[in-house]
Amino acid sequence: MAYTIPFDWTGAIGDVVLGATKSEGGTRRISYRIGGGKTLPFLETGPVSPAPLIAFEICDNPVFWPPLIRNYCGDLTNNVAEWAKTAESAYGADMVRLYLTSTRMRNFSDFASVKKTVETVLSATALPLIIEGSNEPKIDSEVFQACGEAGQGERLLLGTAEAGRYRSIAAAALAYNHSVLAQSPIDINLAKQLNILLREIGVQHDHIVIDPYTGALGYGFEYSFSAMERIRFSALKGDADLAMPMICSAADSLTIKEVREAEPGLQDEMAVRWEFFTGIAAAAAGAEIICVRHPKTIPLLRAAFEDLKKGTRPEAEVQ
């Protein structure tokens, strides 16, 4: 083969481990090591990691969840344990992302329940978990303490740290050995800064997953897409402060106009397609965890990722 693609990379994406099996000190049936990429996504000659992983999003108070999903999943949405279990057994997700939406109620203070919910979900499913904490900075300290402690040993991925608001989640990550989702508003410089702030407080690079914030398709997605490409490029060019795996979560996809105004009976289909196209494009840009809310999106993504990871025939050499 005469051609080699002239890239000149000097760096690689760092590894992050999600979940812990029994031998690793936890109770998950599988753990994932993501990251490790040495070139652009899907150009490696051999599979580098199990990524992209598909995370199914659930919550513990469905009043804050998109009506379309409340409708589709029905009673499951009222029982977070059953819902988590179904995500594993029937929907085929790789991870479960639990949003503690109950903490969004006004004047929330039942932190014991937070601990209990996390423990319940940890028992209901043996998949590695992502836990989204509070929205309200005033209760961050207690909420993340409860999450961190409840998940001790399980190597959770805790969300979501931002520039002005990362101390409690970092504390939980340090105290109980979890990883952190670091979110910035579609700006590579802010993403880098946040990673530096986290490192200064003690969170190591191999415990950070970058969330560049994903706008829904048609609602700013291209900004997120380019932010991801730029982060991946910088990492491969040697910028260690950006060399972390990324997550894509276009939660707005379920409530956009195109879904709301689709013909009755076609709303689910529209939502699934929206999540699907977003997930594929994001994976091509470097996202290694793709979050979805509609169960039907999962098998579609799974089939596509299998085909994507096939790599190329021997003739094409990639550097």
Binding site: P6, Y223, R230, A304, G311
Partner: protein, 445 residues
């Protein structure tokens, strides 16, 4: 590596004769440096200069036109691997596929869809771009009939003719030759005949090979035969394979490491195991012509939206038309929220307003697509603009109150806006996500 303007200027005659259409040689040199001019326009270049300049200033990926007239589309003339480095210029044509083994009604229906279906987003009309007719029957006559069926709809769409059989192509071209259809495909075995056909009808030609080397060789062979409007089909056998090959072609072309690969890429999504995924990947990974089965509304809208998003110039923000927009059915006492015409701002705010279920007005002012923060910093969002917009869009006739809610980041302007408009200004939250809470607490009073 592309030459810089200064180096190009050194090779030009420096007469400022203006015969190339530009006022100075410096201007022409800058255009050449950006791949935006044809070196042949200068009548006073030495042959040597011409060949040096030609090789390095010609766009790294050839511009190829598919079809004729209003529905034709151009692809190629790309310069970057990442849209954020500059932009992607020519969106891929997404083309619906029919087989000559389908019924006439089916073929007609698909053609009519491509002719008529329009999905409007952000002020743009998004459409599919052509019809690909595949010769699966094995019969030239059947193929020709199918093509004739397509043309009978009088959609004037760019056709793609897919056949291994040059006789079948010849028969089909009788019905659509004047549209300069894209012919699929020339291979190492048949390129002589294919080139002849292409030349005869002025058609662009897809070349197909299983290796990049094979593609480059075919390109050399076809250009030698006088056919330069070529599109590459790397014949991928999986989605992963496509990503590798398409990326390789793009990177080798723009770095000018393999000039023979400097052509647009063709992707037949119907041959991929997962068609939707192939379309999505084709859009983000440099395909310029994507053939797909006729799409149902879900994937159709998603695909068109993804294409629109990826092929937007990252340096030019998308803008809404300025005006007074309604959310729900606002009455005379409905709140009026002013913000900029950056589409991301608009849609984000609109989405949150819709979910509050409070009918209201959105007064969108023209900040040339800049966000609130940038527009305030640049002085583009100012009290004069707000005053003029209130007048222009007749806001005072729509509501009986005189209270204007402005974005949190525009708070430094509140006093001046009050002075200029005579309205009372309420400063809203900085984050649109809080608008619901804000309206419930502040407006209800």
């Amino acid at each position: 590596m592309a030459l810089k303007a200064l180096d190009i200027y050194k090779l030009l005659p420096k007469k400022n004769c203006k015969e190339c259409g530009d006022p100075t040689c410096l201007t022409f040199a800058m255009k050449l440096a950006g791949g935006k001019a044809d070196v042949d326009l200068c009548p006073y270049l030495s042959d040597e200069a011409k060949s040096v300049l030609g090789a390095t200033t010609r766009p790294p990926i050839r511009l190829v036109k598919v079809g004729v007239g209003e529905r034709s589309f151009k692809v190629g003339e790309e310069f970057v691997l990442y849209r954020h480095d500059k932009t992607f210029y020519h969106p891929p044509g997404i083309v619906f596929h029919v087989s000559d083994t389908q019924t006439e009604e089916e073929i007609e229906a698909v053609t009519r869809r491509v002719r008529d279906e329009t999905f409007t987003r952000v002020g743009s009309d998004l459409r599919f771009n052509g019809i690909a007719i595949r010769n699966e029957s094995g019969s030239p006559e059947t193929f020709a009939r199918a093509v004739a069926m397509v043309e009978s709809v009088e959609a004037h769409l760019p056709p793609i003719l897919i056949s291994r059989d040059t006789a079948a192509l010849k028969a089909a071209l009788v019905h659509c030759g004047s549209y300069h259809p894209l012919l699929h495909a020339a291979t190492a075995e048949n390129f002589h005949e294919m080139c002849a056909l292409a030349k005869q009808h002025g058609c662009p030609l897809v070349v197909q090979a299983g290796t990049l080397e094979g593609l480059a060789r075919l390109v050399k062979d076809c250009t030698a035969e006088g056919v330069s409007d070529l599109i590459l089909d790397p014949a991928p056998d999986s989605l992963g394979d496509f990503v590798v090959r398409s990326t390789a072609i793009r990177q080798l072309a723009i770095t000018r490491a393999a000039p023979d690969l400097g052509y647009p890429v063709y992707l037949d999504a119907t041959r991929a195991g997962n068609e939707d995924a192939a379309i999505a990947l084709g859009i983000v990974k440099y395909a310029s012509v994507i053939v797909t089965s006729p799409l149902s509304p879900g994937p159709a809208k998603a695909a068109l939206t993804l294409r629109q998003n990826i092929y937007t110039d990252p340096q030019k923000p998308i803008q809404m038309n300025p005006g007074l927009y309604r959310v729900g059915t606002p009455g005379k006492d409905a709140p009026v929220l002013m913000t900029v015409n950056f589409s991301l701002t608009f849609f984000t705010l609109q989405g949150y307003l819709e979910s509050t279920r409070i009918p209201c007005f959105m007064l969108i002012v023209d900040t040339e697509g800049l966000s609130v923060l940038t527009a305030v910093a640049a002085g583009k969002l100012n009290e004069t603009l707000v005053r003029d917009s209130v007048k222009k869009f007749d806001v005072e006739n729509e509501v009986s109150h005189r209270k204007l809610i402005i974005p949190g980041y525009a708070s430094p302007l509140s006093g001046r806006i009050e002075d200029a408009t005579g309205w009372k200004v309420l400063v809203g939250p900085r984050d649109a996500a809080e608008i619901g809470e804000y309206l419930h607490e502040e407006w209800k009073n």
